[in-house]
Chain length 259, copies 3
């Protein structure tokens, strides 16, 4: 049995959408347990959801089912897919949202979810989270085999980190995420700076932050620092303050690693 | 056993109120399972809570107990009521908040909750969600009969959708809710436009939106559209954007269906 | 067995942090049940977390484990401590965050959490909530004895309410918290005004609010009132409106009780 179903959506908490999804799951499998990864993904932001899923999925028990509903194309021709890896199941619209997580997780099977026997009877075109993804995840949590839900397919949409630009005297990276503390997360990973971490200098806007720290409080309050964060990414922070506001940056802007 | 208790409040997440309610429930019935419908109802907004409850309650397993705490009159003479329908239980202040859900759900019994044996001992006048509704819901989830909690009564307060105004060449409706994506929900239901849906023209502010679409992505990005949403209401949306901001409207404003 | 683990953090809901903590707990103990007290503590605000914990902890079943992650010093020399009282367990950084709750709760044992056998293997310096507090709480919920996690210690950091200033003709208190309804909570407790509650006059900014009410709705809408709230604190409110905005006050400002 795979009782645990995680939920990752852009539904927010103002409405009843998340509660309804949990209700549908429990109608199908009263033993299911749901855990929220996040429901505050920026609306329609597939990359942000992919990033949050990548950071979270492997902290859940093996056999967990990860359900993602960030779905700007709901009701159109885009597929809903079910993916099995060695340790987990994933269900999501086929829009790339699984792309970052599945970079690290060999895929064993992809199924296009089409068997309406497992859907809610009155299928809407605007809330497939409720009508398709929730009941399919719940039937899966009761042990239904993947083949029950549709045909196996071989490809799904991909998504990737924006690539680093490597120049002779610098590496150019990008801000890919800003967390709720205002910490700035880049597409630079710990491995990327292996040679230069001792003398690391990160240029962000017109400021240069030198060195690589281990913890936020290793610098004075309100001072900036670089660290490899707990997910393996280069993060630019300000101790006890919001780096985003300190530097005045947004997702998508560049940072430079000076050699 | 009715282990599942849903919670719908205007308590938000900043404070400890929701957690406390769950703690009280689990003290009484460690087997109870709580699911949040929403806690971000606009403070004291009974209609919004009624609307969210109507949309959500029937997606939960039969026997579920729906507890609502949107209660501007807490500590005054207003009653707390327990309602049994064929499939569900409801507990809430008697302020109309159950009115929309119970339009569709034949009521079998209404009880005025007065038996303080089932309340917390130190009863406050400001937090009946904690002191009355949570423990009563939890005792109910353990199988206590409705009569234990107080006397049967025959009436409760009602609430209703604002009525449509039908004129020879138009129907005038109202915006009753705006969801977290900025979608505009009206008091017009699918049935109300049965004859005219093919040629539907909706006037909102000074703009006219023609046609009835099935999904958000069936129009260009940032283009407006009409659809019957997944709860059966006429919704005015903008693909991948916030219709509320696009049109600059608020709850309570009128929309016109031109014939 | 102590299956119930409460969580109180400043992580917010935008990111995946809270979900990850729950995943780690369930990897260690699939039978654990987590309940959120709040995740919207103002970032790094140890006092606010202490206040929310004090109000909430005792509404949970005996044996519950209260895990707090408000931890501006994460990754520095500060300890993580495990505290056993007669009825509960607490785990938190040793930064005073348990101080208000433990004023009322005789401490039986304090342990400095050092045994890395119970930590995640790849220990970060920035997310001890995931790497230490979550797994330790989960092993504790499976019945592991306190001694397994580290050595007993005798002291932990304290925190206290700001003291009242008692003058001949007035008591000067402070605003210590403002809840999500905008209600103003002070450091004055019910006992502090026992002699004067009949003639209570509270001065806040330049306004004087007279009397002590029992419920919000006992005054007209948009009128201010004093009450002893459901946690025993003097609260200044405005019926159906935000007292914070009505008076234009912030946490830390003074209020005067005139005699």
């Amino acid at each position: 049995m795979n009782r645990l179903i995680t939920l990752l959506t852009d539904f927010g908490f103002e409405d009843n959408f998340v509660g309804i999804i949990k209700g549908v799951i429990m109608q199908v499998n009263p033993e299911a347990i749901t855990v929220d990864i996040s429901h505050k993904v920026r609306p329609h932001d597939i990359f942000a959801a992919a990033f949050l899923l990548e950071g979270a999925y492997k902290y859940f028990p093996k056999g967990s089912i990860h359900a993602v509903v960030v779905d700007p194309g709901v009701g159109t021709e885009r597929n809903i897919i079910l993916v099995k890896t060695r340790d987990y199941f994933f269900i999501a619209p086929d829009n790339g949202v699984l792309g970052l997580a599945l970079k690290n997780e060999p895929v064993e099977k992809i199924v296009e979810v089409t068997n309406s026997k497992y859907f809610l009877r009155d299928l809407s075109c605007t809330f497939h989270g409720r009508d398709i993804i929730a009941p399919v995840a719940a039937f899966l949590s009761k042990g239904a085999g993947l083949n029950r839900f549709g045909k196996e397919i071989r490809y799904m949409r991909e998504i990737a980190l924006p690539p680093l630009v490597r120049e002779p005297n610098r590496i150019i990276g990008k801000i890919i995420y800003i967390d709720s503390f205002g910490n700035i997360i880049t597409n630079v990973k710990g491995l990327d700076i292996k040679g230069i971490s001792a003398n690391l200098r990160v240029k962000i806007k017109d400021k240069i932050i030198a060195g690589l720290n281990k913890s936020y409080a290793s610098v004075e309050k309100n001072s900036p620092l670089n660290l490899i964060n707990s997910f393996g990414y280069l993060e630019i922070s300000v101790n006890c303050a919001r780096a985003k506001d300190f530097f005045g940056v947004e997702i998508g802007e560049c940072v430079e690693l000076l050699k």
